[in-house]
Symmetry: C2
């Protein structure tokens, strides 16, 4: 698949855009127009957007521009364009959740996370494609690095839109691997904090006890800025100098030789820059974690979907249909044992995480798979979703195929700011993420 | 049933005993002997104890005495005798959980709560009777106020032992109403804090997400002392002057006219002493709470008991057998909806609780029922166990039948110390609890 370089210049990142708007060097309306032009130029190929609210975005941008001229700024994202995964409610826009024929709503209010970003001045450009109900039945979105490959999922459109430079900031959600995996496949930063750090009100649930709100940005500083707004409190990371990193060989063993070698090479680069890298073993409870998480996912998805599924089972995609059917048949005792296994892992892994500045892991076993039928393997993201601990994926190079490679960093529950500090340090060693030739 | 006044003088409470031991005015060995004598005199009638470890208690007391003579004190409970509900592990003593024929263990280590009390100097006298597996199949224990009546359950023996003056302090557990209800029926103080305040490690579970460790004492100050040790941190209550109390008519409506009138009269007494009493309505989610809690209880009990139940179903009492059978048949989705309903009530009731110094409620719909077949109705205790918030029962008078009456005070999660402060103020108005004529 040939890569055609797009004529548009790269748009600024979230922090840079907000800073330029604040000093009068960038007009929010011009920024929105530039985003809309880039979407217009590229989205026919990439299908990142399910709904572009051009007129609404222009109206918001005009308001932000007027406020800026009056010296009034809503907050740290004043005038920054935002893409919203189409399971988050945006007032006045339909929430289709990848299942438009039978599940659309047109909410009156923003999801809590959208409201917080808008309250800080962000301009909602529109809704990005999601897999159906944020599970694994794919969205139409293509990978900006190679349109023959999946962008990953479930936050497919948000990852692709940021990677393609259509928008500097996008909202996603992760129940298993739905933020970090598409971030890794698309060569952008994907971050989700401790479970509950960002409220999930107004987001179509997949599994309440596992659902995390997350963000896609081009760099760690932009993720830090956005997540502070989303959490409603300061998450300014501490300065990091010589981080202590943990490397678990059992996580590398689940990756392709190319990815395993890449993560080891990244660890070596971090060590040369001053990090201490220590090999660790995950606690014994890791062994049953993936099965436990899947059991929780099945049962909670079934509990949410049961009424609609009873009326519309045939309209559900094969993946979510199988998931809900399994959950409807699951006994309570199995769910309880799975929850206890999940919480036991969370408790057992916390000391290991707290004893290091971050655990270093692949974000995914391999770069983005070919085709759109599968959104890839979430095995490396799943443990940290099931444990509810903060995790970030950083672009870290390119594979032989030309597709992005990534590393994942993980910290303990409650330590999102610490993780962002380590991630910024690691990003400094890795250098900035590349952009696809579009 | 005639009440025979026992010749023994009343033993000191926990705080008083510790204070007298510390200043050399009381010998821990003499105190243990006095407790053993009182048990010897009364337990043939009351059956509070399943296992009295006389020799072990004497050995502990001799050690505490020697330490005291050397000016060494383990902590704030140095030399204070303790009764332990027989679902808590005590090193070297069997844990029968009211099901001796097929479930006994002889643990090597103390439960975490027992270890904390012992670490502060408490002397374990032995194990007190529990209903089978802390559910509703009754223990043989009788109510010290009237042996023809139940002491309540499931912590039957601990409540009766403290009421009968056999021991100043006893451990209990509450999943629905198993501390506050027997405390109310027996005319002693029963307290349980926020869910998780005291670790439940080493306690036979009934339902993990609802199980609370609690204490029985003669007054609020002793409960405060014990719970601080159990929580492993200072829970010194704030001084309270004119508390703001909430009264929910729907809670009174579920009580007998005598109990409802008694709680209103108690509220009037508090108001005369300076409290502001306001009528409140519980949130709408209260309507489904009891059913939700029962569904959680069934499923979690089944998850724990499934292996033993498969081998020994016929040996389970009819109550716990029905419970486990229902839980084994429950679908995961029903459990999930019940858990969400429980957590919704918890969230919705928190502002109401935080806006007052305490919610005032009956502890039980009526005084202790006649007979031992039923341990009584936990309806008034259940909401606060299901919400995981701190609650205390205070003895508040005697019914026309001569049995104890009680009031319950409730606060928000995390506010155990605040609740204990209000309880101390209310206790000051109500006066000290009476002792049964034994």
């Amino acid at each position: 698949m040939p890569h055609v370089r797009c004529a548009e210049p790269a748009l600024p990142g979230a922090r840079e855009a907000a800073e330029r708007i604040r000093r009068g060097a960038l007009d929010p309306v011009a920024l929105v127009e530039a985003c809309l032009e880039r979407i217009q130029a590229l989205d026919g190929r990439l299908a990142a957007w399910v709904h572009v609210d051009a007129e609404g975005a222009r109206a918001q941008a005009r308001e932000r521009a007027a406020e800026a001229r009056g010296g009034r700024f809503r907050g740290s994202l004043h005038g920054v364009p935002l893409g919203v995964k189409d399971i988050f409610d945006v007032a006045g826009l339909p929430t289709a959740a990848g299942a438009a024929p039978f599940a659309h709503t047109r909410p009156a209010a923003d999801a809590a996370s959208v409201a917080r970003l808008r309250g800080a001045g962000a301009v909602v450009l529109g809704k990005t494609h999601t897999t159906q109900f944020a599970y694994r039945d794919p969205a139409p979105t293509r990978n900006p690095w190679n349109e023959a490959h999946t962008p990953g999922g479930s936050s497919s459109g948000s990852a692709a839109a940021v990677a393609a430079g259509m928008v500097p900031l996008a909202l996603g959600s992760q129940t298993v691997g739905s933020v970090l995996r598409p971030a890794a496949y698309c060569g952008v930063v994907g971050f989700k904090g401790t479970h509950g750090l960002v409220p999930a009100d107004g987001v179509v649930p997949l599994a309440w006890s596992l659902d995390h709100v997350g963000v896609f940005t081009r760099d760690v500083a932009d993720a830090t800025l956005a997540i502070g707004v989303l959490a409603g409190r300061d998450l300014e990371p501490p300065e990091v100098r010589a981080p202590r990193l943990a490397l678990a060989p059992e996580l590398l063993a689940h990756a392709t030789p190319e990815v395993a070698a890449h993560v080891r090479a990244s660890a070596d680069a971090f060590a040369r820059a001053g990090a201490r890298v220590e090999e660790v073993r995950l606690p014994a409870s890791f062994a049953g974690l993936h099965a436990a998480g899947q059991a929780i996912l099945e049962a909670e998805a079934a509990a949410y979907h049961a009424p609609a599924f009873a009326r519309h089972a045939a309209d559900y995609g094969p993946g979510i249909r199988t998931l809900v059917a399994a959950g409807l048949a699951a006994p309570a005792t199995a769910y309880i044992h799975a929850t206890r296994a999940r919480l036991a892992f969370r408790e057992e892994v916390m000391p290991l995480l707290l004893a290091h500045d971050a655990l270093l892991s692949p974000s995914a076993p391999a770069p983005a798979p070919a085709g759109l039928a599968s959104t890839g393997d979430a095995w490396h993201c799943a443990p940290w979703s099931f444990a509810g601990v903060p995790a970030i994926s950083l672009p870290s190079g390119l594979a032989a195929s030309g597709l992005p490679l990534a590393v994942q960093l993980v910290q303990a529950a409650g330590a999102s700011a610490r993780l962002l500090g380590v991630a910024a340090w690691c990003e400094g060693v890795l250098g900035p993420g590349a952009a696809p030739a579009l």
